[in-house]
Symmetry: C2
Subunit: 360 residues, 2 copies
């Protein structure tokens, strides 16, 4: 909708044209194991079937689908990575099954409808990159009424966390402002121009950068200090773009650690491979990006830091509402707003606060 | 010529919309001193005159021009930084002199021709960003026949250098390839796909990244091991875009250090403020980005590393030809090719070599 294709290629697709980046995904064993097991433990979904791989990248999911017995796989890739995918398909002797098509899935055309749509479309905090839009488009155009989606379901999670990054970021912000004031002095003294009027916009710019931008982080499970909540469930077979444009939820959580610091929220997602209700998976597979000591993913978690951190006690409760929309300037980036009301067991009740974040 | 504006804003202009980035330039004292002295030691060029500032950014050069007595300054800025520039002009009480205009200088229109065009258009190795094209366009449209350019001249320099970065980059490349082979094994064993066919394109991608991309570096003067050569001189009053599209030069250099390593070439530039021949500067000012212990700039030098490094002796001679063109994919980036023939005083004569680099 109204997206300049040239800009989208310059801003978004470009990184996927590097084997280096594809390799990063191919080295994520949690991700790889989940798709691998989903396919090979549910071969009945692939055997003799037609498959569409939306955003095939290196071609890995298309080749697995072929190995699981697919009759025909359409592997669509927007970038020049398609050339490498084609080579890889050939080297693994599936050129008679896998057809690699260069183009966006929105633009290309297939000679038939398909039984399965497989795609690894998930971005940070699930929806960053907005690539699921493309999967929906492909589904509505090319999936048979009896078709199944791989993955079939997705969920977004949020939990209160503690993190030393909050102090770090505040220190960074403050030292950037100290620097600014020194710069103001020097520019006035040495170069005769008073830049004081730019202090407010500069401080807002830096605040946005240091304090209002969510961060990639690999949280340790012990940094999760309260009960995680599901804020969104997606049925990949029926979801619409509309319901993704604005994700809204209210949830409550209670602190599960005694005497700790609430530094903000962590967000992650999981997806499931369950087939469809008429055609359920023999073996359900889960891919989770929840905080984990040993099974971290390249997605990590998104961390939304609140300043200053709040001392909290076991049993303290919080009522949270979260709202996520797409950035007006770039539909692949997100803006998230949290409103949070604490009810502390001590009886004190801090003022409710609202904080806005940018997922860049 | 044929540049998609949306892509250019997404790829190029975007960073200039941040005060943080403008501040980096405003904190470069070598840069600031040069423009400050050029203006205030040549007030006769500004007093009572009309000035066009191409790419005013924060507005600093426009305000200095006004402080030096300009009757009118047109300060043109492509990005939203123009709003900040307007505020800064007002806070420094020059809103009656400086008119900030948001737009690219190619698109905007002025009510009159100007006496002076001032601009800080220099990118890495002078020409990266290709912003001088815009200055030429402004000059041809808006400069009076008697007008002067600030700066008035520019030169590009190249010298043989030594640098430990060459070993570093080779090690990085090799360890990336070691990683790749481990990845190949694992993907074959654990996931049943042979990715060997991608080894060549991956290695080329990584070679380009680690070994063929020029690097920003702040060279120490002692890292320059031979006589620097000028490869291009530009008269800003008469230069054409054509002559910038392809910069070609042959030069020779001799090694000035006894028994050292030749690791490649360093490239930098200087610009001069000399006024025009009818209207020369009272005080000529130079802004140089040559290697310097105490007067480094944010431009640093561009370093083009040759692998492996070559042992060289004082008096060894090299005949070099250099060719620089714009990248086909992005006219603001450059491709540089060096051909180098050594004549060593020892009598041995290594094979001439040709190396291509990307300035990204
Ligand atoms: N609308 C679209 N049409 C075609 N390809 C798309 C697309 N949107 C994103 N892509 C591609 O989808 C890929 C997502 S990354 C996943 C790659 C591969 N399926 C794997 O699992 O390893 C990228 O290569 C990206 O270029
Ligand atoms: N064609 C063009 N038209 C208008 N502005 C341009 C332009 N090309 C580059 N610019 C702007 O030129 C500026 C160059 S950086 C220099 C900023 C300022 N004159 C200073 O000396 O501090 C950037 O802000 C960039 O956005």
């Amino acid at each position: 909708g109204g997206v300049d294709k040239g800009v989208d290629f310059a801003n978004y697709f470009c990184t996927y044209a590097y084997l280096y980046h594809q390799k990063e995904m191919l080295c994520d064993r949690v991700r790889m194991d989940a798709y691998y097991n989903a396919i090979f433990q549910n071969k009945q979904h692939f055997h003799g079937k037609t498959v569409l791989d939306v955003g095939t990248g290196s071609g890995i999911l298309a080749i697995w689908s072929a190995q699981a017995g697919a009759r025909k796989v359409y592997a669509v890739e927007a970038t020049k990575m398609s050339d490498h995918a084609r080579e890889l398909v050939k080297a693994n002797n599936f050129e008679h099954v896998v057809e690699v098509i260069e183009g966006t899935v929105e633009d290309i055309s297939l000679p038939e409808k398909v039984d399965v749509i497989i795609s690894e479309w998930m971005g940070y905090f699930l929806l960053r990159e907005s690539m699921f839009d493309s999967v929906i488009c492909a589904r509505d155009r090319w999936l048979k009424p009896t078709g199944v989606m791989y993955p079939s379901h997705a969920r977004m999670w949020v939990a209160p966390i503690r993190s030393g990054l909050a102090d770090q970021k505040m220190t960074d912000f403050e030292s950037s402002m100290d620097d600014w004031y020194k710069f103001l002095d020097e520019t006035k003294t040495d170069y005769g121009v008073d830049m004081g009027v730019l202090t407010k916009p500069f401080s807002e710019e830096q605040k946005k950068y240091y304090l209002q931008t969510s961060m990639w982080n690999n949280l340790h499970p012990q940094q999760v200090i309260g009960v995680p909540a599901i804020i969104k469930e997606i049925d990949c077979l029926t979801a619409t773009v509309e319901e993704l444009l604005h994700v809204r939820a209210n949830f409550s959580s209670s602190i599960t650690l005694e005497n700790t610091r609430f530094s903000g929220f962590g967000g992650w997602f999981d997806v499931h491979f369950r087939g469809s209700s008429q055609n359920p998976a023999r073996q359900e597979i889960e891919l989770t990006t929840a905080p984990s000591q040993d099974n971290g993913t390249h997605w990590g978690q998104q961390v939304f830091l609140v300043h200053p951190p709040l001392r909290v006690q076991e049993g303290d409760k919080m009522a949270v509402s979260i709202s996520m929309t797409r950035s007006k300037e770039n539909h692949r980036l997100m803006e998230v707003e949290f409103t949070c009301e604490m009810r502390q067991s001590s009886g004190t009740q801090p003022r409710p606060f609202t904080k806005k974040f940018f997922i860049e």
